[in-house]
């Protein structure tokens, strides 16, 4: 119960219900109080009126009774017939007797032929005496009356109290209860015959009521009643008219109950949709509060359920998105923390590799400078030596000798020129400024036309050119491609055994044209296949060359969109490069 109430606390459902019910209850209580008081005042007036009416009837009946019996007593002549007439007129009479001081003059009984003699009651000087009440075998209270006359004639009468009561005008209001008590407070007559015949005593509370005033009292059974008490002087008793308060208020209670029930039903009928509406608003708020609590504790296990009006759904959706984002960030942080060492190790490895590359580059640069210095110093030394020799004044060189020296000097100068040209090309290639001017050429024709030059480069080695018969059109810069082929053939000659053959081949696939130069050389050591295309790489220190030829060849081929590579197998080393094929519609001349 407490938990149930606590869940309701603060809810405007309860507030709304209370706001509706409390004023209703307050108004109902005030209305009930006012109406019941007014209703009971009216009922009291009705009871008073009924009591006055009954008392009037009772007094009248007693007056009639005393009057008829008085006439009987005063009547001259046959007393017994007078008594018979009186009894015929008065149904409450059980027995009558007329006597004088000396003897009984006449008797008459309603039930007996010879009645039991009555106790003397009438006394001289008292015209009317009401004696004690006694009860017969049936339990009926019997009144006794004595009348006296100055003539010393007396009349005694026994009267049935219930019959006397029934001779009165009946109660006009059946909800009321009226009764007559004797001087001792016992029921003498009543609208309820049972309490009379049982010989019960009326509640003491009602007997103590103020005469003639409406009052409330609680009877022996605890029932609250509204009553009016009026004294009946002749009998020494009381006339009481009363009614239970609950009975008096019953019509009002029924009406109010019907009204209250109708209002409650109407409220109940309206409460359901109101409650649903309120819940539609409070449920999302509850969900948000629950979700916030879960977030505070760690994480939201399940997304909040969307319900209620669109605004509430929107709020819940936004909350779910926020919770999901928080969850994702939290997971990332956890993951980051978890893999931080690995990342540091990776970064350290990368830094180490970069450093190694930098060191390698530095070494390469050093080697490059050393190579360049060496490559330049060797021909310079040769040029300087031969030039100094020619300029020596102490020696007279023959013309053929001088010509030979000059030819050597020219050769070394050419060598230096090539070296410098290669260095420039290499520098351009590294800067991405290596430019080629491709024109559509027939690769077969280009190779055939270059064959004599290649044979010169083979320096007497057997050189075989293998090419297909038809044209193979390729967009290329003929001069550059010739230099690549020449470089490859020079390398083949340089690094293969003397006298071994060199083969230059040309093949084609639908996509590209492939040039190859194979020799019987020992080739490049394993694992060095990529390095041969780096600047100043030499498979062996001997052999001459600048060490830039293959790097420049690679730059040229790649500038054409092609590929260059090295293959080994079967005792042969094959350098190759492939260029994308083109259409032969616009083939330029090989010399152009």
């Amino acid at each position: 119960m407490k938990g149930w109430l606590s869940r309701l606390e603060g809810r405007f459902t309860l507030a709304a219900a209370a706001a509706g019910v409390l004023p209703l209850l307050l108004v109902g209580a005030v209305a009930w109080y006012g109406l019941s008081r007014s209703y009971l005042n009216l009922a009291g007036a009705r009871i008073e009126s009924e009591a006055a009416h009954l008392q009037g009837s009772l007094d009248g009946r007693l007056e009639t009774l005393v009057g008829v019996l008085g006439q009987t007593l005063d009547a001259p002549g046959d007393e017994v017939w007078a008594l018979r007439y009186a009894a015929a007129r008065l149904p409450e009479v059980v027995e009558l007797r007329v006597r004088d001081d000396a003897k009984v003059l006449a008797t008459w009984s309603r039930f007996e032929v010879t009645p039991q003699p009555l106790e003397p009651l009438a006394r001289p000087g008292e015209r009317e005496v009401w004696g004690p009440v006694w009860r017969d075998d049936w339990g009926e209270p019997q009144l006794t009356l004595g009348l006296a006359r100055a003539s010393s004639r007396f009349l005694e009468a026994q009267l049935r109290a219930p019959v006397l009561w029934d001779a009165l005008v009946e109660l006009r209001d059946p909800t009321l209860h009226a009764f007559l008590t004797d001087a001792g407070g016992r029921y003498l007559a009543s609208s309820d015959r049972l309490e009379v015949l049982r010989g019960a005593a009326a509640p003491a509370a009602v007997l103590g009521g103020e005469a003639g005033r409406v009052f409330r009292y609680r009877d022996d059974a605890g029932i609250e009643k509204l009553a009016v008490v009026r004294p009946v002087e002749r009998l020494g008793g009381l006339l009481v008219v009363e009614a239970p308060v609950q009975t008096l208020l019953a019509p009002l209670s029924r009406s109010l109950l019907v009204l209250l029930a109708s209002v409650l039903l109407a409220m109940a009928a309206s409460f359901w949709p109101g409650w649903r509406l309120a819940r539609a608003v409070t449920r999302p708020l509850d969900e948000l509060a629950r979700g916030a609590g879960e977030l505070e504790q760690g994480s939201l296990e399940t997304p909040l359920a969307e319900s209620g009006p669109p605004e509430a759904r929107s709020a819940v959706r936004a909350f779910n998105r926020m919770a999901a984002e928080l969850e994702r960030n939290r997971s990332e942080l956890e993951d980051y923390a978890l893999h931080l060492e690995e990342r540091v190790a990776e970064r350290a490895e990368a830094l180490r590799l970069a450093r190694d590359r930098a060191l390698e580059a530095d070494r390469a640069k050093t080697r490059f400078l050393a190579s360049v210095s060496h490559e330049l110093r060797t021909p310079l030394a040769s040029i300087k030596g031969f030039a100094s020799t020619l300029l020596a004044t102490d020696v007279a060189w023959k013309p053929e000798e001088a010509a030979e020296f000059l030819r050597i000097i020219e050769s070394e100068a050419d060598r230096m020129h090539r070296l410098v040209s290669d260095l420039l090309d290499r520098a351009r290639g590294e800067r991405g400024e290596f430019s080629v001017t491709p024109l559509m050429q027939d690769a077969v024709r280009l190779l055939r036309e270059m064959e004599p030059r290649l044979r010169r480069l083979a320096r007497g080695r057997p050189l075989q050119v293998v090419a297909p018969g038809g044209p193979l059109c390729v967009p290329l810069d003929a001069e550059r491609i010739r230099s690549v082929l020449a470089n490859l053939v020079e390398n083949a000659v340089r690094y293969s055994p003397k006298g071994s053959p060199v083969t230059v081949g040309l093949t084609a696939s639908p996509a590209e044209v492939r040039f190859s130069v194979s020799d019987a050389g020992s080739g490049v050591p394993a694992g060095m296949e990529e390095k041969v295309f780096e600047p100043f790489f030499r498979a062996a220190e001997s052999g001459g060359g600048t060490g830039l030829g293959l790097a420049i060849a690679k730059a040229i081929v790649e500038a054409h969109g092609g590929r260059i590579g090295l293959e080994r197998g079967g005792g042969a080393t094959v350098f190759w490069f492939a260029l994308p094929r083109g259409e032969c519609d616009d083939v330029a001349g090989a010399d152009s």
């Binding site: 149904p91 309603r110 039930f111 049936w138 339990g139 019959v163 015959r193 049972l194 109940a268």
Partner: protein, 311 residues
Amino acid sequence: MRRLAWLLLPLLLAACRPSAPPREVRVVVSGPGRLARAEAFAAGLRGYDLENVELTVCDAGGEADSLAACTEPGPALFVTVGGVETRTVIEAGDEAPVIYVGLAASLDWGYVASLSHPGGRASGVDNNYAELSGKRLQLLKLALPEVERVTVLYQPGVVPTPRGLASVRRAAAELGLELDYYPVADPDDLNGLAKALGGSSVDAALLLPSFVLENHLQVVLASCKRAGLPLVGLDAAQVRQGAFLAYGASGADMGRQAARMARQVLEGYPVSEMPVERPQQVQLSLNLTVAGELGLAVDPRVVDLADEVVQ
């Protein structure tokens, strides 16, 4: 919300509650001579307009053997209109309470321990008829002073008869009257009534309470008429049928009294605590037509005393 529903549930259940089956109040009548009491009771009970009460009248039509059929169990209350009816119902063994309307000599039947506290399953209105038999004889003597000898018609073996006979004997002795007796044990005994009355020197006949005599009143009246004798009956109803004089309770009054008692029993008051009541009114009735037919000189003062005069 569930609690609100629980609060409203009793209202709905009260609205939907099926009505209880009606409670039967069965009036048991031995024959036509007592039917008027049954009708008076029925009128009185209907006057209360009780809800859920079904009133039925079971009339044996004067056949004592048929009376047992009226005692089938089921009623909430039996209402009887005389001694034989009361005895038949009580001996049938049902537990339902019994209210009688006009039983003579309640104490002699043994169904009540005392008049103020019956203590059993029966109570009602005692018509006091056995005790009033002597009073009837007195009133006959007042009305017809020349009457000297009276035949008493009685049913032997009936509970009120001894009390009635004692009453008339006591009265006769006080009034100086002679009595003859004519027992009627069953209806066949009435066949010789006219001859018996005609062959005697009686001046009148007096009826004692008896279901045979009351239910075959016409035979009795015819016999009295043939013998030229006035009949002193029990109540005004018999005077209206041809008896000369009667002194007894008003059937309507007894019916109202018994109806009031029946209502209280139906409302739950224990019948064992319900005091036996005596009649509210005792009326003198005279039939001057019969007196004229028989050539009787009725004392006019008695006529003045009468509550009802048929003429």
